[in-house]
Structure formats: structure tokens, C-alpha cells
């Protein structure tokens, strides 16, 4: 086989993956009104973006939602991973299975099932329903991240702690939590990004009282071109890059 072919394929596909993103970033600094033609450098769309009150409010709502969803799912997910790792209990396989199903099932299936639940139980669609939904779809990802960390862990440490008279809770707090800390942080960042990016589930479970960023963007891009979306996209890109780098850095540093 030709030796350069695999590399050329890699480069071509990487190129195609990044073309739309590059276009977005370049056009976010475009001074032209039409959206398609280049009219010189300008920051006007960033200005338009931040002068849009509904947009800024949706941004804060989204940030707050992502922060709280990531935190709650890290807490519950971390504890779940510990329980799956440490304890034998009935229905462990069922629990594992349910987490797997949440991760694999199409988002839209999760979305309508949660909408049905919220309406039946009478949870008003807004911040609370969004939080419950986002925590649910972030949960399996946190569990997997933490489990991966625990699987390579020396079992003699927790046993030693128990032998020295530590209670289950004390042992978890002083031995296991420090060990899984990097995985918890990585899981938190993953949950944060998943929550910030979600469109499908949020479309179903959000109400008029709590507008979040992805839905705001959705209503903007459905009709025509909105150049300020380019600016917003660029900001979100930089934000994800920082978050992703941070989580990679935490994970690799902890391995050394």
C-alpha cells in the first residue's frame, strides 16, 4: 500500500472537521451585514451579542444550570461508582444496566419520558425539571469516569483503614475520595459541557420561565442567518477548549 495514504486520509478528515469551525470563527469578526460576504474586521457582532438582554440572561441561566447539574451529578455519580466498586448488593447488575441504557438510548427517548413524568407528577417545567433531566443524562458519564479510576486501585489501602478502626464513612472520606478526586473533577467538567450543549432534552423539559442558551440559539438559527451566532459560537468554542484542556490536564497529571 502507498505509505502516505493513511496520513493523508487523517489530515483530510481533520481538515473537514475543522472547516466549519474555522468559518464560524472568521465570520464572527466579519463587519459585513449580509453574513456571507467579507466586509473587513470588526467586533460588532460581539457587541450586538452582549447588548441582547435576553441572550445574556439565557447565558447566565445556562451557566447556572450547567454548574448545578454538574455538581449534583458528580456527587451522586461519585457515590454510585463507590457503591458499585465497594459493595455487593442485590440488583447490582440491574443498576449497571439502567446506567448503560441511559447512556445508549437516543436523547429524544429520554426527553419524552421525562416530560411525561414531570407533567404527571406536577413538577413545573423550568429550572427544577431541567436540573433533574440534566443530572440524569450526565450521571452515567460521571460513574464511568470514576469507575475507571477505581478499577486500577490498590485494595489494601481501604482494608488497612478499616483494620485500623475507621468507619466506612471515615474510610471513604480519607482514603477513597482523595484517590478518585481527579476522576471526580474530570466527570464534573464532562457533565458541565454536556449540560451546556444539550438541545434535545432541554427542548422538551424547559418552560417559558427559564430560557437557556441552546434553546435561545435554536430559535435564532431556525430562520435565516444571525451573525451574532458566529460570535457566540466562537466564545463557546474557546470555553469548551479551556474546559477540555483542563480535564485532560487533571487526568494526565494525576497519573504521573
Amino acid at each position: 500500500m502507498i505509505r502516505w495514504l493513511p496520513r493523508a486520509w487523517l489530515m483530510l478528515i481533520y481538515g473537514l472537521l475543522y472547516v466549519p469551525i474555522a468559518v464560524l470563527v472568521v465570520f464572527s469578526f466579519n463587519d459585513s451585514r449580509s453574513g456571507y460576504t467579507w466586509g473587513g474586521l470588526s467586533l460588532r457582532w460581539y457587541e450586538t451579542l452582549f447588548n441582547n438582554h435576553a441572550m445574556v440572561e439565557a447565558m447566565w441561566n445556562s451557566l447556572w444550570l450547567a454548574l448545578s447539574a454538574a455538581t449534583v451529578s458528580t456527587l451522586i455519580g461519585g457515590l454510585t461508582a463507590l457503591a458499585l466498586h465497594r459493595y455487593r448488593f442485590r440488583g447490582k447488575r440491574v443498576l449497571n444496566g439502567m446506567l448503560f441504557v441511559v447512556m445508549m438510548s437516543p436523547e429524544i427517548v429520554l426527553a419524552i419520558s421525562l416530560l411525561a413524568l414531570f407533567l404527571l407528577v406536577g413538577i413545573q417545567l423550568g429550572y427544577v425539571s431541567l436540573l433533574l433531566a440534566h443530572v440524569t443524562f450526565c450521571l452515567p458519564f460521571v460513574v464511568i469516569t470514576v469507575m475507571a479510576r477505581l478499577s486500577g486501585f490498590d485494595e489494601s489501602l481501604p482494608e488497612a483503614a478499616r483494620d485500623l478502626g475507621a468507619s466506612d464513612f471515615t474510610m471513604t472520606r480519607t482514603v477513597l475520595i482523595p484517590v478518585i478526586m481527579p476522576a471526580l473533577l474530570a466527570g464534573w467538567l464532562l457533565g458541565f459541557t454536556l449540560s451546556l450543549d444539550d438541545v434535545v432534552v432541554s427542548t422538551f423539559v424547559s418552560g417559558p420561565t427559564y430560557e437557556i442558551l441552546p434553546l435561545r440559539i435554536y430559535s435564532m438559527v431556525r430562520v435565516g442567518l444571525k451573525p451574532e451566532v458566529n460570535a457566540l459560537g466562537t466564545l463557546l468554542l474557546v470555553f469548551s477548549l479551556v474546559m477540555l484542556s483542563l480535564s485532560q490536564w487533571i487526568l494526565t497529571r494525576s497519573k504521573q
Binding site: 500500500m1 493513511p6 486520509w9 487523517l10 478528515i13 481533520y14 472537521l17 475543522y18 472547516v19 466549519p20 469551525i21 468559518v23 464560524l24 449580509s34 453574513g35 456571507y36 451522586i76 457515590l79 454510585t80 457503591a83 459493595y87 448488593f89 443498576l95 439502567m98 446506567l99 445508549m104 438510548s105 437516543p106 436523547e107 429524544i108 427517548v109 429520554l110 419524552i112 419520558s113 421525562l114 411525561a116 413524568l117 404527571l120 433533574l132 433531566a133 440524569t136 468507619s167 466506612d168 471513604t172 459541557t193 434535545v200 427542548t203 422538551f204 441552546p214 440559539i217 435554536y218 438559527v221 431556525r222 442567518l225 458566529n230 457566540l232 459560537g233 463557546l236 469548551s240 477540555l244
Partner: protein, 286 residues
């Protein structure tokens, strides 16, 4: 059995986790199953007489067409992802280890970036007065703009663009585990490149292929915002039908039945994945 008093921490954790999953995963899914066999009610969404009308309605030519068209677009998307992703993952696994991590990082970056915004970026490129058309016009290769936006092709391009990493990552993981000795042994035993590919590499990477297919095919039927932005009203996905039925037409039984069909498709794919993995386990140990 341990009592609550002996291990309060353990009990608290288990109650919390089980509570969450039963309330927010099991119960809602049972609700959807229930909703699919109930009758549509304009006031309270659902009412009692149990029946299979919703499933019958799925067979209505109008919806059946949408379903088949959506399935067709999802299948083409999956095939395209496989044809791009298989050689890509293979090539990636051959790159030296240090660089691999960086390359994977750059594969994940776009998919951590807001998917709506990325779909919108495609619109800038495909539109009638978009980048491709202006480039082709200024090069003189075409005389008038080619219509690319609001076509079936645009929806498929959008889906491939969003879902490609989900195909590549599981494939990369099977190629990474693929033992070079097996390939060499096959060559030593006299098999040519093609025979080695068909009899050694393909069977060993099959679980990755199926995992990738599962991760691409199902979302490719559900991501309703892609046709909304790129496809116009003719190229709908099952996801658009479910969304319209739930949020606009308020026909819950029908939306629920459509979603159950999606879930069943997922179950079949998961089963196929399991079987292929077990087969390899047996062959490997034999």
C-alpha cells in the same frame, strides 16, 4: 444481610442511587410504554380505553413514508461514517502513541462544541450564496449557484458531521486492541492482504463497528434540529415526528409509540453487539 444501623453510609448511598434511577429512569420509561397504548385526549393528554391505535397509526402511509425516509437517511449517514471512520481509526491506531493522544484530543474538541452552532456553521458553507457556491462561481466552474441547502444531502452532511466522532472512537478502541501478531500470523500462513482483511481484521473489529453503528444510527433518527436548520420541511427525521406529536399536536400515544419503535431498534442493535463480542471471546480463548 447488614442492617441499617451497622452501615448507615452504605444504606444512604444505595437509597439515593436507587431512588434517583427508579424515579427518573425506570418510572418515566414505564410511563411512555403506558402512554403508547392509551387514547389521545385533548384535555389531559391521555385517557383510558387501552388500544393499539397509536401503533396502527404508525403504519399509516403518511407516517410510514417519513419513517422509511428517516431510516434511509440514517442508514446512509451510518454507512458514510463507517466508510470515513474505519480507515481513519485504522490510520489513527498506526500513529505513534504520543501523537495519538493529541490527535484524539482534536477529534473530541469539535464534539464538545455546541452542536447547534456547528450545524449553523454548515449553513454558512452550503447556502445558495454561501462559501462553496461563491467559490465555485468565482472560479467559473458553475454559472449559477447550486442548491445544496434544504436538501436530503444537506441533512446527511449535517448528521455525518455531528456523529462521526461517535463512529471513530469505538473503532479506534478495537484497532488499538488489535494484536499485530494476529495479522502477521495470517501473512505467515500465506494469506494475502485481502484474505487477512476479510478473515482476521474485519471479524476482530466487528464489535467496534457495531458499537459505532449503534452510536450513530439511533441519534441519526433523533437529532431533530438538523433537518430544522438544514433540511427544510421535506426531510424530516423520526425525531421531528416525535417532537411534533408531543409538543405541537399533543398526540402523546402516537409520539410514545414512535419512541418505543426507536428503543426497540436500539435493543436489537445492542443484542447484535453483545453476540459479536461473545463470539470473539470464544474464538480468542479457543
Amino acid at each position: 444481610m447488614s442492617s441499617i444501623r451497622q452501615q448507615p453510609f452504605r444504606t444512604a448511598v444505595l437509597v439515593l442511587v436507587w431512588g434517583w434511577l427508579l424515579f427518573l429512569v425506570l418510572a418515566p420509561n414505564l410511563l411512555v410504554v403506558g402512554a403508547s397504548v392509551m387514547t389521545r385526549d385533548p384535555g389531559s393528554f391521555l385517557s383510558l380505553p387501552l388500544n393499539l391505535d397509536a401503533y396502527r397509526q404508525l403504519m399509516d402511509p403518511l407516517y410510514l413514508d417519513v419513517f422509511l425516509h428517516s431510516l434511509y437517511m440514517a442508514a446512509v449517514t451510518t454507512l458514510a461514517c463507517l466508510l470515513i471512520g474505519y480507515p481513519f481509526a485504522w490510520a489513527l491506531s498506526k500513529v505513534e502513541k504520543r501523537r495519538q493522544l493529541l490527535l484524539i484530543f482534536f477529534l473530541i474538541v469539535p464534539f464538545w462544541t455546541n452542536s447547534l452552532v456547528r450545524t449553523y456553521a454548515l449553513k454558512l458553507i452550503l447556502a445558495t450564496n454561501g462559501l462553496i457556491n461563491s467559490a465555485l462561481l468565482s472560479l467559473g466552474w458553475i454559472d449559477e449557484p447550486v442548491r445544496m441547502l434544504y436538501t436530503e444531502g444537506a441533512v446527511i452532511i449535517g448528521l455525518v458531521y455531528l456523529l462521526l466522532p461517535f463512529m471513530i472512537l469505538p473503532l479506534y478502541s478495537v484497532f488499538d486492541d488489535l494484536r499485530e501478531e494476529l495479522v502477521m500470523a495470517s501473512h505467515d500462513l500465506g494469506a494475502g492482504r485481502f484474505a487477512t482483511f476479510v478473515h482476521v481484521i474485519v471479524p476482530l473489529t466487528l464489535p467496534g463497528v457495531l458499537a459505532g453503528v449503534m452510536l450513530v444510527l439511533l441519534p441519526a433518527m433523533g437529532l431533530f434540529f438538523v433537518p430544522d436548520i438544514l433540511g427544510g420541511s421535506r426531510n424530516l427525521l423520526v425525531g421531528n415526528v416525535i417532537k411534533n406529536q408531543f409538543l405541537d399536536a399533543r398526540n402523546w400515544p402516537f409520539g410514545a409509540a414512535a419512541s418505543i419503535v426507536l428503543t426497540l431498534t436500539m435493543a436489537v442493535l445492542m443484542l447484535a453487539h453483545r453476540i459479536s463480542k461473545q463470539r470473539i471471546g470464544e474464538e480468542g480463548s479457543a
